[in-house]
């Protein structure tokens, strides 16, 4: 029997059942989705969330269309802290920085996520990395445009770049560049090219 804490996921549909519908962007290619699915399966396997043999038999009076492909049933309870979602989001950023989807592996992504989670929100480090993940191309200028004038990504953190009056981010280009350079030194990010405009990716 399957209890209500479990969902069956397959290549056709896994982000939505796992509660990550916002990652299901139509711009993503099939290859990227396959890579994400493989990571999700690996994560669930590593964390013992896969329930084996959960698909029951079929009664005589039923014609069921079984979930095709590598269908697995997972326990949702183990996904409570959103770690899988963060890993998949990070994987998409890594793919966007030029890493082939097939080259992604769970272990370095988990390690990179650990480094990002240690960053300080009050110093704008975390926001810069999060903005970088959405910036195309991922350079200082686009990070600035993604942050400046927008509501603070971590409003309760007491960020030093927060404009108290408007409640929006007031970081400058120079400050973004300095933060990015520091994050490269700390091995959280890596520089993808040597000349301006410099682009950045996650250091794996």
């Amino acid at each position: 029997m399957i209890d209500d804490d479990q969902v069956t996921i397959s290549r056709d549909s896994f982000l939505e059942p796992l509660g990550m519908a916002d990652l299901a962007d139509g711009e993503r290619s099939r290859k990227e989705f396959d890579a994400l699915f493989a990571l999700a399966v690996e994560y669930c396997g590593t964390n013992h969330l896969i329930v084996a043999g959960a698909i029951p038999g079929q009664a005589l009076s039923e014609l069921a269309w079984k979930v095709p492909g590598t269908a697995i049933t997972v326990r949702l309870g183990g996904l409570g802290d959103g770690e899988l979602k963060a890993i998949l989001g990070l994987a998409l950023f890594v793919i966007a920085s030029g890493v082939p989807p097939t080259a992604l592996a769970l272990t370095p992504l988990v390690a990179a996520l650990g480094r990002i989670r240690k960053l300080r929100t009050a110093y704008g480090e975390r926001s810069v990395v999060e903005a970088l993940a959405r910036a195309k191309p991922a350079d200082a200028r686009n990070v600035l445009l993604a942050l400046y004038g927008k509501p603070c990504l971590h409003s309760d953190a007491g960020c030093r770049f927060l404009d108290g009056e408007s409640g929006a981010c007031a970081i400058s280009l120079e400050e973004v560049e300095k933060l990015l350079a520091w994050l490269v030194d700390e091995k959280v990010l890596r520089q993808l090219n040597p000349t301006e405009p410099i682009e950045y990716g996650i250091a794996l």
Binding site: M1, I2, D3, D4, D5, Q6, V7, T8, S10, R11, D12, S13, L15, E16, P17, A24, G26, E27, R28, S29, R30, F33, A54, I55, P56, A59, L60, S61, E62, L63, A64, W65, K66, V67, P68, G69, T70, A71, T73, R141, L144, L145, Y148, G149, K150, S166, A168, S172, L173
Partner: protein, 537 residues
Amino acid sequence: MAILERKTRDPGGKLVDVYPHTPFVSAICFRFTEEPGDDDLRALVLSVFEEIAGSANRRVRERDLSISLGRFSNRYGDRFVALCLPEVLMVDIHFMFQDAIRALGRIEEVSRAAWRDVEARHFGRYANGRFIFYADPLLLIDQEEQRWEWRSFEVEGTKIPPPRRTPLPAIDFVSGPRHDLESWALLSPKIAEVVSEMHGPSSYGALRRAAKSHFGLQVREVTGSSFPHYGMLTAGWVAEDGCEVTILLRASLPAQLKYVVLAHELAHFVRHFPLVYMNQIAEQVAWVHPRFESLYGAMVERHLGAPSRLENDANNFATYLLLPPVFDLDQMASFMFEGGGPVRPEELGWRLLQSLFPDGALNEASWAEIEELQATIQRDLDQRSSIDVDDPQTLQMAMLRALLRRNEEGISAEIQSLNQDLHDLHRDLGPLIARVSDPAAGPSMREAGFDDKGANTEFRSQRRLLPPVDGRGDLCRTPRIPICPTSDNRAAATTLNWRSPSHPSHRGKPVAAWQRSFVDHTIVLYPFQRPLPLDSR
């Protein structure tokens, strides 16, 4: 197009216009002897803005008009500038821009163009008499010196437009909620006719409404995670007036997938209802004679073979709900010419199908990515011969395989063969029931490979404890076995040549064989009570 003004300014201190994503523009593409700079183009656009502002026509004057600009080159290396206007625009204003451009270069094309193809960016805006031009957000500009206002812009996240869906054709019949072989024989051709008259893929909501209101099917979405399938066609308890047929769908699927799954299950109903019906009867008989289930299962396997045969047949029919018969891929492809070459029918099929699935929806049409798209299509098409029939990996692959096969020569023979096998199964069911129901059935059971102790019999004891729940509470408490052969007609049943309504020769004719052959015997069977022998009732 509603352009919003952001509450906060950009790093350069300018106001920021927020544009919604617009995939297409009306592009005036022109060539030039000397490539115009942004200042030249701004002067051109400004002159038109002033002409618009000075127009006596209020409809021309009072409007919010955004202009974008693209610079691109074609495959021969020719450079072009594209002045992009909204797709829907007064022709007078379009002509104003065309006249102004002719002073600068030669117009090569005026067409609907994908935003990406002309590499467009927002350039200026005429906002009810105010002139706005866009500059780098980081740039500090003195606003006083200009006749126009400098701003910057940002575009809201790109949204893939939902795929276009067409309404179902008018349906002029209403089927009752209970189905038997006779009513199904009348109903299924009508459903097939509706499908044949479709002009394009419909929506999940429309198909669901039609299934419930016109086809007499229950469609239920299962929210619990205990339902591990995408969809299921299931028959309710068979009584004298037939049975309810329910399509169960996994509620967590995206609506686009639900449409595909509903199409597939509807196809099962149209093509394979006799099997579901017979299966349910077999299950009911198995309540009295538990060994019957195994005998029947073996018979089904002997007649129909692998389950994938039924699935492929259902997929074949379901493709017509995705791409109706009017989508003649061969004919459509013969009219098409793309990127310097013809488009193959299978490639066209892939593209049409792709847009009907979530996650795999194509980006907005763009020449910029055509080569990448063609490579993806080719990779998928190369895989089609290796698609595992029993495990096609994705619904999309399963439907693509069915779509590409539906016009193959052998497909009609496969359908006829399946019809015949269903007919044969139907023919053999009665004698099997008669044989198992015979009090002296021991030898028959042994002949069939089952010893007296049932050592080889697969018992599913848990299903014997409680009758299936089909929403009819009273029958659940007192399940009835409506169809059982009597001793009087048992002999007749074994020799009667039944005709299945699925047999081609029986198309459209009412089927009474079932009712003629068997007298209904209602056996009241309480849970946890041993079945009563037929003769002791």
